[in-house]
Amino acid sequence: MAGGTYKGSELGHVDHFIDGDGLDSEREIEIGQHIGYRYDVNLLPDYDRLTPFLTTYIETMGWDDLNWLEDVHMGYEEGRPAVFDRNINGWVSIPEDTELPDNQQDRDMLARELLIKFQMSRRHPLVELNKAYRKF
């Protein structure tokens, strides 16, 4: 399983986007700039790797699968593992003391779990924004 696929080709190593410079395609090398995401956005979840936390979350919401979390993956921002929070339009760094699994599917499950904990926390930035701006 290693690192999954990216731009139609197999990623050699799961740490490809931590260790590398992100310049893979001819176009990226030509312009000296990484294009697009630093993970395979189309990687479908392997439901055999669902964590107990995510199972409880799914049951709480009344869903039968990961639903919107199917689009959440562990990405890599500025050389650090991170997960993108669409509610704040920014990357949330994975804490440095978190041990990363050796494959992308388990990393994605970890990212989903951490993102839920972050979004549902009273310390999430949107809680303060909600108090300040909600209309009714």
Binding site: I35, D65, D71, E77, D85
Partner: protein, 282 residues
């Protein structure tokens, strides 16, 4: 970048910016040892077993939506709306776990901007059903109009019948499932997410798609610009079977006949020098 400095300078001189696009890194607020909380702090505490229903005939659209909100506030987790009368913008902006049952049809922009609820609509829906949906499930029992699931961000949007043109236009995530046929320009400018069409797809499927995946069980009239066939993997097949079975749309012959369409990524040429290139061409 060293060899490109002349080009960089040229674009600066022409007044073009060279801003690198990046998200903002958040390094505060978060601890993985946060207590287990599965809903947003300000969401209503509802019980799926607590059920309420009301007759929407004679109510204004805003009154219907406020009524749904009041019922959630009082802890109702299952709400049935009778006689919606195909009016527009019903059930929009629900940011809560909820079972919402619409007994009838909806007009334009039904259940748009929702984040979490499970919605079942027994009739048809007009244009842009579940537009900008963030999470949850929406199941339409009959047919849908054009731009079904426009700009979808997340969740599952299902139509058991056929839908119009430009299905999933500009979708940025989530899953759209169509039990019947879909019209022209479906998946237009799709950026990510998944679309599953059990029937046929109209012309220019996936036109200018940037990323994402489209699965089609029937015939494709034509592919759009930069939409190309992709290779079906075991993970794709397992996901398709599980997802279609979830909504009782799995064909009796399985998913072996489905085609996979992905972005050719020939349009992936945006970079900080592109404005310069355009200027030169023009």
């Amino acid at each position: 970048m060293a060899g490109l400095s002349d080009q960089d300078n040229e674009s600066y001189e022409m007044g073009m910016h060279t801003e690198q696009l990046a998200g903002r890194t958040q390094e505060i607020f978060f601890s993985p040892r946060e207590g287990e909380n599965f809903v947003h702090p300000d969401s209503f505490d509802v019980d799926f077993d607590k059920r309420a229903e009301f007759d929407a005939a004679g109510l204004e659209i805003a009154e219907i939506n406020l009524k749904i909100r009041e019922l959630m506030e009082s802890g109702h987790g299952t709400i049935v709306v009778r006689n919606p009368g195909a009016r527009h913008s019903i059930g929009v902006g629900i940011l809560n776990r909820l079972n919402l049952i619409i007994d009838g049809s909806l007009g334009y922009f039904g259940v748009g901007l929702i984040d979490g609820p499970n919605v079942r609509i027994s009739g048809r829906v007009g244009w842009s059903c579940a537009e900008n949906m963030m999470a949850g499930t929406v199941v339409v029992e009959k047919n849908g109009g054009s731009t079904f699931g426009a700009a979808l961000r997340g969740g599952d949007l299902v139509c058991r019948g056929a839908v119009g043109s430009r299905t999933g236009i500009d979708m940025k995530g989530g899953t759209i499932i169509v039990g019947g046929d879909t019209g022209a320009y479906s998946g237009f400018m799709m950026q990510r997410g998944r679309m599953v069409v059990c029937g046929n797809a109209g012309k220019n499927l996936g036109d200018s798609m940037y990323d994402g995946t489209i699965f089609v069980g029937g015939e494709i009239r034509s592919l759009g610009v930069d939409a190309v066939p992709g290779e079906m993997t075991d993970l794709d097949r397992a996901w398709l079977e599980r997802k279609l079975a979830m909504y009782e749309l799995l064909p009796s012959r399985g998913v072996g006949h489905f085609q996979k369409i992905v972005a050719g990524k020939q349009l992936w040429n945006y970079d900080n020098l592109e404005p310069t290139e355009k200027k030169i061409v023009l």
